[in-house]
């Protein structure tokens, strides 16, 4: 334990620095994009005077560094600002979308992790065997198939032809849990396909790596049953890379779900961020970027801590 607390403290410190740098980079890059929020809002048919007036209204007439500093000060005080185009507090917009993204990512994780672990461990144990080869071909082809293809085929088969599942994922607050699961089934499956495949490949590699170690051979020579070797001896050593793989996949589920969000019209954070970029809504864009970055850092931290706790050698 003595080792973990300072590690967490150090990590939080560097996370804050990372967040600051990311916000600076996002702000700089976004200001390089042609046009600003006022131009985008007024569209093709705006005159110079109109744009100038709206710019003043939005506070875009101030120089970039000043806007950035103001935004940062407000954020430190806990206020992510006002969306330029929606005329609503950013926190309000995010608080509506963030639960949706977390829900989709959470359900996908619950669905994918056990399957991925099972596939990964099973194929590691049966390395070179028929099962392993079958699973490897399946997972490799799953990794190779793009999400939009899986999603579109899923919609064509299950929604358009069979009429079993809805083609759009409406996150309505009135829906019961069952209805919600039904409307999220296709998005979850589309995301799970790629996540399961990635996690299973990484798990297989980590477990297989351990199975080659001398201690496994020793345990086998001593007559320990193979299943016990895998669960009791190999897994604690393999858990670090496996957890890391999972953390990476999960952070992907938060921000990388954009294609699935678009196809199923799911109101999540990823599409919100794309929205913010196209409408040049800086406060909203910054807030989304901060959330994605923070979530990523938290997941990585959790992965490291879990790996340490799970491994007797690191725990000491």
């Amino acid at each position: 334990m003595a080792k973990i607390l300072p590690l967490i403290a150090r990590r939080i410190g560097s996370a804050l620095v990372t967040l600051l740098l990311v916000s600076l980079v996002i702000f700089t890059i976004a200001s390089l994009l042609p046009g600003d929020a006022a131009q985008e809002a007024l569209g093709q048919s705006a005159t110079e005077e109109q744009v100038a007036a709206l710019r003043a209204e939005m506070g875009l007439d101030r120089p970039g560094p000043v806007r950035y500093a103001n935004w940062l000060l407000d954020l430190v005080r806990g206020d992510p600002g006002q969306s330029l185009v929606a005329n609503m507090p950013v926190s309000e917009i995010i608080s509506e979308r963030l639960p949706n993204s977390l829900l989709l990512a959470g359900l996908t994780a619950i669905f994918s992790v056990p399957i991925a672990l099972f596939i990964g461990i099973a194929s590691a144990i049966d390395r070179g065997g028929r099962l392993d080869r079958g699973l490897s071909i399946t997972t490799l082809s799953m990794v190779a198939v793009p999400e939009f293809l899986v999603a579109t085929l899923g919609v064509l088969i299950f929604s358009v032809h069979l009429l079993w599942l809805p083609s759009i994922a409406m996150a309505s607050s009135e829906a019961t849990f069952g209805e919600m699961l039904r409307s999220l089934a296709l998005p979850i499956i589309s995301l799970a396909v790629i996540v399961i495949a990635q996690m299973a490949r990484m798990t297989r590699a980590a477990v297989a790596d351990q199975l080659d170690r001398p201690y496994v051979e020793m345990a086998r020579l001593k007559g320990v049953p193979y299943s016990r070797i895998v669960t009791v001896h190999v897994m604690p050593n393999a858990i670090g890379p496996v957890i890391n793989a999972m953390a990476l996949s999960l952070s992907y589920l938060m921000g990388g779900a954009i294609i699935v969000e678009t196809i199923f019209n799911y109101p999540g954070l990823a599409s919100l961020m794309v929205n913010a970029v196209t409408s040049r809504d800086m406060p909203l864009l910054q807030a989304c970027a901060m959330i994605f970055c923070a979530l990523y850092l938290v997941l990585m931290l959790v992965a490291d801590v879990v790996a340490i706790l799970a491994n007797p050698r690191l725990r000491a």
Partner: protein, 517 residues
């Protein structure tokens, strides 16, 4: 537009029809005629998906910028006038709009109309709604049009006087646009409290708009639907899938390539709206070689319009003739000779222009519908006559501010406008902001101003006819086709009629549609 003799107090009581009586005649591509007409039923909830929605979705009519906004606003608010499917202007909230000189207009309001919050509609609301466009901080998308409102004043409880900066016979038509819908007096950021057929129940920008029937709506027997949920599905394939799987009952902006899927489904139909929407090639007149008259003549003779119509739009388009007034427009001049592909003529013009083998870049983008394919067709035909074009494909994001009209050759895209005057004033007048080709024609400008104040309808038509000829002959734009708007709907949804100004029945389907269970 086809308001015969609007001039002398002609609009008094011209159309009590107002929003409404636009009959039951369905103009569908197939079906529907077989089953006999049934009386419109009341009730039913439908879900409608459009192609665009984002956090910039608004409840403020003045800020409306996208089709989703227009649909939302027409559900909640009413305008002083509306446009009928035949493009004639009908009265709505106004009982009369009259003027003796087309400069000083008197608008008299219908009595007994209430907002959703119960307040009576009065002249104050109209004055407030129209004045807002002049306030730059509102960010009105029609501020340039509202510049001609010199003075807006209340006369009495039901009467408003609107003084223009110059004569404009089109004022009643201009007021039919969704941006000029009437909001409640004093509301700086309107939140759905209108006089319209539906009341707002839930609005989340970028997610959905939910409206329910307004039981106190002032037009008898309207609306018929109990409620509408408006969402957006930006991906076209997903939108069509959602329609076919029954998750939504009406969608817009269907790619011509997807029409077969909808035609193949027994329970779905297409609503095709011939519109004035066009994608044009802009040839900058201030730059060389595009400013050379022979160069633009060569381009105009080089484009294979039927090929564009067939290959890009599966014949869901109307052949254009390098001027912006479409053939089904009341002011269309049929006497302008149609330019057709003629490579010998094009070659001759090209030689006269002296361009030679110089490589000329053409800027095209997904922002201008079909422009990339059109550019490729031009490139191909150009190669046959010795014109060397390079297609520069650029992203849609930021296209209008960085590329449109900023290069000698670039593609543009213009949405339908309610009047010929607006199209010409915004895009073709010598000093217009978006006269991006930069053509200058004194005669054209004079005709345009004169036509606004012309009270003789025949003379007016003649003037617009000549303007079309001038643009066709001299302007640096090439307009190959007018693109039809294609919507798809569940066949049980009735009462949809195409209005050439926009898809989804000119964005106003909600008031008249009904559900036949």
């Amino acid at each position: 537009m086809s308001r015969p003799a609007i001039s002398r107090r002609a609009l008094v009581g011209a159309g009590v029809a107002g929003a409404g009586l636009v009959g039951a005649g369905l103009l569908l591509r197939r079906g529907s005629a077989a089953d006999g007409p049934r009386a419109p039923a009341r009730g039913g909830y439908i879900r409608v998906a459009t192609q665009s929605s984002s956090t910039s979705d608004t409840l403020d009519p003045a800020k409306g910028a996208l089709s989703t906004d227009y649909v939302r606003h027409f559900m909640l608010y009413n305008g002083l006038t509306t446009i009928a499917p035949d493009m004639s202007t009908q009265l709505s909230l106004a009982e009369a709009i009259e003027s003796d000189d087309l400069v000083d207009w008197t608008i008299r309001l219908r009595r007994g109309i209430t907002f959703h919050d119960g307040a009576d509609l009065t002249a104050d609301d109209v004055v407030w709604s129209l004045r807002r466009h002049k306030d730059a901080s509102v960010g009105s998308t029609v501020a340039t049009i509202a510049e001609q409102f010199a003075n807006i004043a209340k006369v009495d409880r039901e009467t408003v006087r609107l003084r223009l900066t110059g004569a404009n016979a089109d004022l009643p038509t201009i007021l039919s646009q969704s941006q000029f819908l009437i909001v409640r007096n004093g509301e700086t950021s309107p939140a759905g409290n209108g006089t319209g057929p539906f009341k707002l129940s839930d609005f989340r920008p970028g997610v959905r708009t939910l409206v329910v029937r307004n039981p106190d709506y002032w037009v008898p027997d309207r609306p018929r639907l109990e409620g509408i949920e408006l969402i957006s599905i930006p991906d076209e394939v997903s939108r069509v899938n959602a329609l076919l799987s029954g998750d939504v009952q009406l969608i817009n902006a269907i790619d011509p390539r997807s029409t077969r899927r909808i035609e193949a489904s027994a329970g779905h139909d297409l609503l095709v709206t011939r519109s004035g929407l066009y994608t044009d090639l802009v040839m900058r007149q201030g730059a060389m070689p595009t400013g050379n008259v022979h160069f633009s003549a060569a381009i105009k003779h080089m484009i294979d319009r039927p090929l564009v119509n067939r290959a890009l739009f599966r014949d869901f388009a109307t052949i254009g003739n390098d001027q912006p007034i479409p053939p089904f427009h009341p002011l269309y001049n049929p006497n302008v000779g149609q330019t057709t592909v003629d490579l010998d003529k094009a070659r001759w013009h090209l030689r006269q222009s002296g361009v030679g083998r110089t490589l000329l870049p053409v800027y095209a983008s997904p922002a201008a519908t079909g422009s990339i394919d059109m550019a490729s067709i031009l490139q191909e035909y150009g190669a046959r006559i010795g014109l060397n074009l390079a297609v520069n494909r650029v992203p849609a994001d930021g296209y209008w501010s960085t590329h449109w009209g900023r290069h000698p050759l670039s593609f543009g895209n213009t949405n339908p406008r309610p009047t010929a005057d607006l199209i010409f004033s915004l895009f073709y007048k010598s000093d217009a902001e978006w006269n991006v080709s930069g053509w200058q024609n004194e005669r054209f400008d004079r005709l345009l101003i004169a036509a606004r104040g012309e009270t003789n309808q025949a003379l007016r038509e003649e003037m617009y006819g000549e303007m079309q000829q001038l643009v066709h002959d001299h302007c640096g734009v090439m307009i190959p086709v007018f693109i039809s708007l294609i919507d798809g709907f569940d066949a049980r949804l009735k009462g949809l009629e195409p209005v050439p100004l926009g898809g989804l029945g000119g964005y106003r389907f909600a008031e008249d549609a009904w559900w036949e269970a």
